[in-house]
Amino acid sequence: MKIMVSMKRVIDYAVKIRVKADKTGVETTNVKMSMNPFCEIALEEALRIKESGGASEVVAVSIGPPKSADTLRTALAMGADRAVHVTTTAPTVYPLTVSKILSALADVEKPGLLILGKQAIDDDCNQTGQMVAGLLRWPQGTFASKVVLDKEKQEVTVEREVDGGLETVCLSLPAVITTDLRLNQPRYATLPNIMKAKSKVIKKVTPEELNVEINTDLEVLQVTEPPKRKAGVILSSVDELIDKLANEARVL
């Protein structure tokens, strides 16, 4: 069985982002970019399934400009066997189009599992996994905190982080899984693996070759800074705090 993992190149999670003065978006030039943390978790899970004998190959996929190849190179250094780079110069590819591209790739690659991060930390959409599952008519296990594959039965049991607890579902393969934070702790690429990754193949395809048109029904009108919360006062005692909460804020 093959596992396909999709990944997104985003502004590094530790960078404090800056909204552009012309309100067209967020400054990305000269900003450190990294693999979306949830995608790292998705890749790690795929690698662990492969290492435990559940899969024979892990294919990493990314969609975007030439620089997206850096993210795929990282994936190869972490242990992915090969990579597919869907090249586009479109400034934004929205989740619906991403889902169509991934769905077309799944038709070609025929993976048993497609694993994605539950959301990207830039647009915080939390949509792509659900949408590609819908397009493929595959079952979905979103916000996964535990994944157990049963190769014999061709099914996967997924524990999901939902409001007010954990939900367990069992999906027949092929299936889509999206990863939550605590599914695993992604590994670091070691130096020998980084060297080895240089000789691994990144295949390039275009959306046109996959018969997917890049367009969207969404238009960003503006990106602005959120209203600032002004810092309040530092109090000196618990008595003063209780007094303020009761008599000034009136929340007690």
């Binding site: 949408m131 029904d217 618990v238 303020k244």
Partner: protein, 329 residues
Amino acid sequence: ISTLVLGEHKGGIVKPSCLSAISAAGSICNDNSISILLAGSGPSLQKAASHAASSHPSLSQVLVADNDLLTHPLAETWADLVHFVQQKEKYSYIITSSSSFGKNILPRAAALLNVSPITDVIEISDPKVFTRPIYAGNALSTVRYNGLDPCMLTVRATSFATPTLSLKESNSTFAAISQVDLSEFTQETFGKSKWIKKSSPNTERPDLVNARVVVTGGRGLKSAENFKLLETLAGKLDAAVGATRAAVDAGFVANDLQVGQTGKIVAPELYIAFGVSGAIQHLAGMRDSKIIVAINKDSDAPIFQVADYGLVGDLFDVIPELLEKLPVD
């Protein structure tokens, strides 16, 4: 203009977050005919339907999809159901709350309808213009939906107020209840996913997202044992307990108590943070709280920059003192 709200219910009650979704639908325009779709099976579904009928003055219809296939809220069945209902009724909007229920189902249904959904809407400024936070709330993106109907949204419950009076008290009319004819409902993905179980931690505390007061612990709490201290305080304040990612990762509390960009988004009247440094990812989950109180040993902790009231001190001194001195209702 017509809107379908996807409703979640439990124990015969429609969840409050769905009522926020109805409020959001009501804010789109004045002549919006709003229906809520409830799915499930058996008496608890019918009970939830009558609860829904008198839950919100903006609601005109309750649609009930009663079928054994729908007993558990599986995304596969639900998305097919939404697609099925949309083919017949041609709603202009399909809206649900940004809960784990809504986020699981709505994007899948949107893909079946070839629509780009919009996640986490916090403001509707024009019938097709929506504002949503991006980058953990460090920027706000305003987007216009230019596609065909339906326009599909998940909305943040904390951004759309629910009516305070129930209809029974205000003597308003009830919404009509009608059953969805499922005789032609075919479920394409039938049997591909099975619901096994749901485990919920035993807690008497109010739900984190809907609580009026939230007390949160960070790494500064140091242990699961110490979180019990926070539980006691929460008991006194009738508050929900939350946690930072650091506290959850350290195993002090269960995953679903995490407040932040990738966890729960809360906006209570009063938010009290103990031993929380204030990482941007955490602030993203609570910055809309009405009053924020921070208690931290480190006077340079970033949490103080967003707190209305700060107290520099050891939480292990402050919590017992609060327990002793807080007024009892």
